[in-house]
């Protein structure tokens, strides 16, 4: 694992020396900021109305009303943004041939993989931290509950970890970044919409499809519920995809 750190450093630096990280951050924050703005505006209109209507006021809660939908939406936006962060990981190196230079140096495949994965995770964590501005800002005017917000971030972290693992796997299979992004996007989208057919797929298949869905498992986190089955789902998905990526890197050794 000696070479993990140099790879991590190099990959992280290349996200920030190229405009990729800045552009993705910028677009992500614009969209999340807009959602936060419309969420909080709607919430303040409801608050005004509740002054006249005590029944409405009972169910009013800034965490439930603003942050839960915000984080659920963030999960969907991540689904669109994540392929842009992961597509270059291996595809770019394969295209430019630098992978040959890298792998003919005394380095293990697993070091390359984990270094790249960790760098992408770091970029993602920074992106999440930037959105923490919204709950911090809300504490100035209201009192959101810390619990559900923290569990939402924990959930987003796990969600992102599995999305990045999927993106890494796809990127290691192609040398074309567009293909890597398109396929990753397709897989992530499928993991979202797969639960939609759960309602008419019958009881057994319905539960199965709900369990497969990556966004469905996030619901509990957004509510503030930490369920081990959700945690295990994301960890499983991440580890499984990273394992397959490692195999795909090694495959050039036996694939002649």
């Amino acid at each position: 694992m000696r070479n993990f750190f140099p790879i991590f450093k190099k990959e992280l630096a290349s996200y920030f020396t190229s405009p990729i990280a800045y552009v993705v951050y910028c677009m992500f924050l614009i969209i999340v900021g807009y959602l936060f703005y419309s969420g909080i505006s709607f919430f303040s209109i409801l608050s005004f109305q509740s002054l006249n209507n005590p029944n409405l006021a009972q169910g009013l809660n800034v965490t439930e009303g603003v942050f839960r939908p915000l984080y659920l939406n963030m999960g969907v936006i991540l689904l669109l943004m994540m392929p842009l962060l992961t597509m270059r990981l291996f595809a770019e190196e394969k295209k430019s041939g630098t992978i040959e230079l890298l792998l003919t140096n005394p380095i293990r495949d697993v070091e390359v993989l984990l270094g790249k994965y960790a760098a992408c995770m770091a970029v993602y964590v920074i992106m999440l931290l930037l959105t923490a501005l919204f709950p911090v800002f809300t504490t100035l005017v209201g009192s959101p509950e810390a619990g559900p917000i923290l569990s939402s971030y924990f959930g987003l972290l796990l969600l992102g970890a599995s999305f990045i693992a999927i993106g890494t796997l796809v990127s290691s299979l192609t040398e074309n970044q567009i293909i890597a992004a398109a396929v990753t996007f397709g897989i992530l989208l499928l993991l979202w919409v797969i639960s939609w057919s759960a309602s008419f797929a019958g009881p057994v298949w319905g539960t199965f499809l709900l369990h497969l869905s990556a966004t469905e498992h996030f619901q509990n986190f957004a509510k503030g519920v930490l369920d081990t089955q959700d945690i295990i789902y994301y960890l499983n998905l991440s580890v499984f995809c990273l394992f397959l990526t490692l195999r795909s890197l090694e495959s050039k050794r036996w694939r002649g």
């Binding site: 450093k9 190099k10 630098t98 040959e100 230079l101 890298l102 140096n105 005394p106 050039k252 050794r253």
Partner: protein, 311 residues
């Protein structure tokens, strides 16, 4: 050190077997698509051999790839580099990966940069460098750890003549100390730098010898260039009449009665230059020039490759 490799049923290369001694510069020649790069990639553990085994610096590349790679400096074809890094950052990254300890790292990087002539662009982004500089950055990367084995895949393509000379000088300085495998299709380069040449074609080794032996040993005939002042219509048959002359070719024609140039092939074992001269003088023609033409490595190469293709 010994590198032996057998290669299996793959069409790329087949039963390529060779060994390189320490301190030797081996020229690895072959036309495009002959399997040079494939062989290099197998040597550097980038690709596996379908069959056979490769030992680099005593390590089997399939069993101990890390140790083998630790002893190899490799400059891949087309010199892929991380273009978003600076030269110094790039070399520092590879110095870390190659496990050069922290105390020596900085000094070593500066030393290699100076040696490869890239010290003046150390803080520039690689994407802004010209092809020649990139090539030298790639070479600096290969030399970083002072590896006993250097594998250079076409190190001088795309360079200007001055840069080519510099790179060759660098390789020449390394010879004797390091084992160098120089993969190229530029023949004069091999003649200049290599102590031994291996020619492969269509995945097979077709010749292996010193450049000198290859150029003299493989030719069955010797070529003589003549310039004779006399009527061409009479000179050609007379030359053909001398015993030992295999073939006469009139190579240039000035005027019907003026001097003509001829390329003639004579038997190697039998030097008939004296007879030729005497005959020309006796006929009353002027012998303006006579010189033997040595077969260049290029001719040998073309000969080997074309006969291989023909057969």
């Amino acid at each position: 050190m010994r590198v032996t490799k057998y290669y299996g049923p793959s069409r790329a290369i087949e039963n390529v077997t060779f060994s390189v001694n320490q301190g030797e510069v081996l020229g690895f020649l072959g036309p495009n698509g002959a399997g040079k790069t494939t062989t290099m990639r197998i040597l550097t553990c980038y690709m596996p051999a379908t069959r056979g085994n490769v030992r680099v610096a005593g390590y089997d590349v399939s069993k101990n790839p890390l140790e083998a790679k630790n002893n190899i400096g490799y400059l891949p074809e087309n010199v892929p580099l991380y273009t978003d890094m600076t030269v110094r950052g790039f070399l520092n990254f590879f110095a870390e990966i190659k496990g050069i300890d922290k105390d020596n790292r900085k000094a070593r990087i500066e030393e290699v940069m100076a040696g490869c002539g890239v010290d003046d662009v150390g803080n520039k982004l690689i994407s802004k460098l010209s092809k020649g500089y990139r090539q030298r950055v790639g070479l600096a990367q290969a030399l970083l750890k002072d590896p006993p084995v250097l594998i250079l895949d076409e190190p001088t393509t795309g360079l200007d003549p001055r840069q080519i000379i510099e790179i060759r000088e660098l390789i020449r300085r390394l010879s004797g100390k390091k084992t160098v495998i120089l993969c190229t299709h530029i023949l004069p380069e091999v003649e200049m730098l290599c102590s031994r040449v291996l020619i492969i074609n269509e995945g097979r080794v077709v010749a292996e010898d010193t450049p000198e032996n290859l150029t003299t040993g493989l030719q069955r005939s010797r070529r003589v260039h003549l310039q004779v002042d006399g009527p061409a219509s009479e000179v050609t048959p007379s030359l053909e009449g001398v015993s030992g002359v295999l073939r006469v070719k009139q190579s240039s024609f000035v005027s019907s009665s003026g001097p003509c140039a001829y390329d003639i092939e004579i038997d190697k074992s039998d030097d008939v230059r004296k007879e030729l001269a005497r005959m020309i003088v006796n006929r009353g023609w002027g012998l303006l020039r006579m010189r033997t033409v040595d077969l260049s490595l290029e001719d040998v190469f073309v000969k080997l490759v074309t006969t291989e293709n023909g057969g």
